[in-house]
């Protein structure tokens, strides 16, 4: 057994009356990949913040290699060799990769910053992580998201940390990028770095980690080697009860009524046109490697991004040039960044729910408040939104609940086609499965759902058909028995290689 490098015992932290952590323990061995699992609110993030010194615990002690850390000191944690990669990218988009990597410790020569040495340091750090294909001189804003994530990790390794903590580092990555990140993490581990990962994607834990700690309600439920516990058991330990971590039953009868006929679609100028039919009552998955035009496809259908092709509904050709046109025809897009695109965070739940359909309850421009109350109450019930009152501010709700409010906001518009863009990103397991049930119930009422997801497990478990995209074209369609996780991942790479 390797020696313990990071141990935290009896960590407590409360914010007002709520206990974020109530006696959490964690022990991580040297040069292993350790995962921390727990539902939203289980205290994972708080634990990471306490270990990194950003938050001061009320009680408990942390030891690194047997030496006690002074609590609440980011400086002491850093000096002890802890580096954290947070969920939100902490790079400065306007500056170059090299600037970002050396920002904490600018190399000086005669009082001036030496750009040559900064570049050399950056090159060396990137090469060490097998990331030599990233140009240290490129502005971060011009890199694709996955490369930004890699730069983020490179930045964290600049100080040669003993323990690297990744907080939801894969939530913005696609299949190929996740693989690359895993390679990178394994490489770091093999060279002696201890890595702690926090993720909501269960299968990643079993693919990457050596051991897990499961947290529930601020307490440690247990520490396991990944070989002695399976996914189902982990989920029930996280929830504290046997929760239904199974996907809702798929549609049995083959659907025959088309909701939308897409003809001669071309998202990119040089690609050849393709056709696709969305059926009433089905959930169509959209997958493939990241950046293959999946987002573009959904945004085009919603009139938010340019593209060519006919959209035919009930034999009529629709002219969708902006989201307002799409909404009029019952085509609704649930955006991925609910905080930015989907919700008004500082307004109450009820107003958010009413926002999309205000005109329907207005008479001479004055809103019928009684109708609004009815509509909001119905939506809250239908979506089983956990809000203390219809006037609670949306910003006070959890991520998963916010996602339900976005959905509820558009339900009143009676959608015929629902487009989801990576909607479950960063949502905890329990809420995720509630969301899946909701989606299936919507589909069963005849709504055609299209779901773009970077989570393969979700595509396979939830969808009736999955279109694997490559270069803006649905290059392969998987359904029925062919629809397995291996098939989707395989197809993602195969269609890419075939071209």
């Amino acid at each position: 057994m390797r020696p313990v490098t990071l141990s935290a015992r009896g960590i407590r932290k409360h914010y007002g009356p709520t206990h974020a952590l109530d006696g959490a323990d964690i022990a991580v061995h040297r040069a292993e990949v350790h995962a921390i699992l727990g539902e939203n609110g289980a205290g994972k993030s708080t634990l990471v913040k306490i270990v990194s010194g950003v938050v001061k615990p009320d009680d408990g002690e942390i030891e690194i290699e047997g030496r006690r850390l002074s609590p609440g000191s980011p400086h002491d944690s850093r000096a002890a060799g802890i580096a954290v990669v947070y969920q939100d990218l902490s790079l400065i988009p306007q500056l170059s990769v090299a600037h970002n990597l050396v920002l904490s410790d600018l190399p000086l020569r005669a009082g001036l910053v030496s750009l040559g040495r900064a570049e050399a340091m950056a090159r060396e750090a990137l090469a060490k992580l097998d990331l030599a294909d990233i140009d240290p001189r490129a502005p971060v804003a011009q890199l694709p998201l996955d490369q930004q994530q890699m730069v983020e990790i490179a930045k964290a390794t600049m100080a040669q940390p003993r323990i690297l903590i990744l907080d939801e580092a894969t939530s913005s990555l696609g299949v190929a990028e996740v693989q690359r990140l895993f390679d990178l993490v394994r490489g770091l581990r093999d060279r002696g770095t201890t890595v702690v990962v926090i993720t909501h994607r269960m299968h990643e834990v079993w693919a990457l980690a050596d051991s897990v700690t499961i947290l529930r309600d601020g307490r440690t439920v247990g520490r396991f080697s990944v070989t002695e516990i399976d996914q189902r058991r982990a989920v029930s330990l996280m929830a504290g009860r046997d929760i239904k971590a199974v996907f809702p039953a798929k549609r049995t009868a083959a659907t025959t009524t088309p909701a939308l006929d897409l003809r001669g679609v071309r998202l990119r100028r040089r690609s050849s046109p393709w056709d696709l039919t969305l059926m009433h009552g089905e959930i169509l998955g959209v997958g493939g490697l990241q950046g293959q035009g999946q987002r573009h496809f959904l945004h085009w259908l919603y009139g938010a991004q340019p593209g060519h092709g006919e959209v035919v509904q009930d034999g009529r050709r629709l002219r969708i040039r902006r989201p307002a046109d799409a909404l009029r025809h019952g085509i609704v897009l649930i955006p991925e960044d609910r905080a930015v695109e989907g919700l008004h965070l500082n307004l109450p739940v009820r107003w958010n729910l009413a926002m999309a359909t205000l005109g329907r309850r207005a008479w001479l421009g004055v809103i019928d408040m009684r109708a609004e109350r009815r509509v909001a109450a119905a939506a809250l019930k239908q979506m089983s939104v956990k809000a203390s009152s219809p006037f609670q501010l949306v910003s006070a709700l959890s991520g998963g609940t916010q996602q339900k409010v976005v959905l509820g906001k558009f339900m009143e518009a009676r959608p015929r086609v629902l487009l989801f863009v990576d909607s479950t990103r960063g949502i905890d397991v329990q809420t995720k499965f509630e969301f899946y049930d909701l989606l299936r119930r919507l589909a069963d009422t005849g709504v055609a759902c299209v779901l773009y997801s970077s989570d393969t497990e979700e595509l396979v478990g939830l969808c009736d058909r999955v279109a694997v995209f490559h270069d803006g074209v649905p290059a392969m369609m998987l359904e029925g028995d062919e629809l397995t996780q291996d098939a989707v991942v395989g197809a993602s790479f195969a269609v890419a290689r075939a071209s």
């Binding site: 306007q94 500056l95 030599a132 294909d133 001189r137 890419a496």
Partner: protein
Amino acid sequence: MSARRGVPRQALPWRIDFAWQRSYTAALLVAVLFIAYILKNGSFGTIEALGISNDALPLALAAVGETFVILTNGIDLSVGSVITLANVTVAVMADNGHAWEGVLVAIALGAAAGLLNGLIVSFARIAPLIATLATSSIFVGIALIVLPNPGGTVPGWLSTGTAGTVGSVPVAVIWLTVAIVAGWILLRRTPFGINLQALGGSESASWSAGINVTRVRILAYVASGTCSALAGIVLAGLTQSGDPTIGNVYLLDAIAAVVVGGTSLAGGVGTLSGSVLGACALALVSAVLLVSGLSTDYQYIVTGAIVIGALLAHTLQSKAAVRAARRERPAEGVPA
């Protein structure tokens, strides 16, 4: 398996980076206006150079100061008032026989005014727009008490140091050149300059990188106040007197020069040298109008049009840069 991409080629050396490119618009504008001026005027000598550079210098100083603050994603509306305050301070103290001390006191007052702005913005957490609007009113009030009516006298050496010539080159041209070079070094090669851009790019990221965000922000306001004070002192030298209304026109012109110079009002992207060029462009606009026989009243219309045109040019330029970056990666995520 790991996806390997072709190494993205960065066509330009990084010193000529994104922010630097944005000042090209201002440089081009200066060149075009300069040629227009020579064509209209028929000749260009020391007299003409003096007229234009003396016009440009105080504006350039104010614009450089404003750039520091705009880079942090803030705004300093007290630029004009600090110019006035420094201007009347020099005039009044010189009138009483303390010219040198007057210059030093004026600079110290400018720095103190900036410090006050920085402290209010950082610790009272008042939005820069409101905070500096309020302090601006205070500074103007003080200036009016110090010197209620235009007057005072300024010693000859201050005039020579601002409005004079070295050989046939105006001193102001030398100062403008110094400002361009110093601005470049300060922003690209000193920790303060890089931290300034980092702060404007993302405050939380800068904080987590260990940058003392509060100190950098306060220093930006101090730099702004100091630059405005220098502008006020230069104006005292040029006009050889003090005037409690002299700074009024400089606030909006300074912001216009910053924008023309390619600094983003959203913070994080920009150059001090661009702002100097922007100030030169605006000075050339009035010079060209003057030799064309048009009233300087037209200046406001032309300046407004140039600001909008420059903003459009910057937008198109950044879009083109993003497109170029995309073209280098035709198929993301594809194993090569």
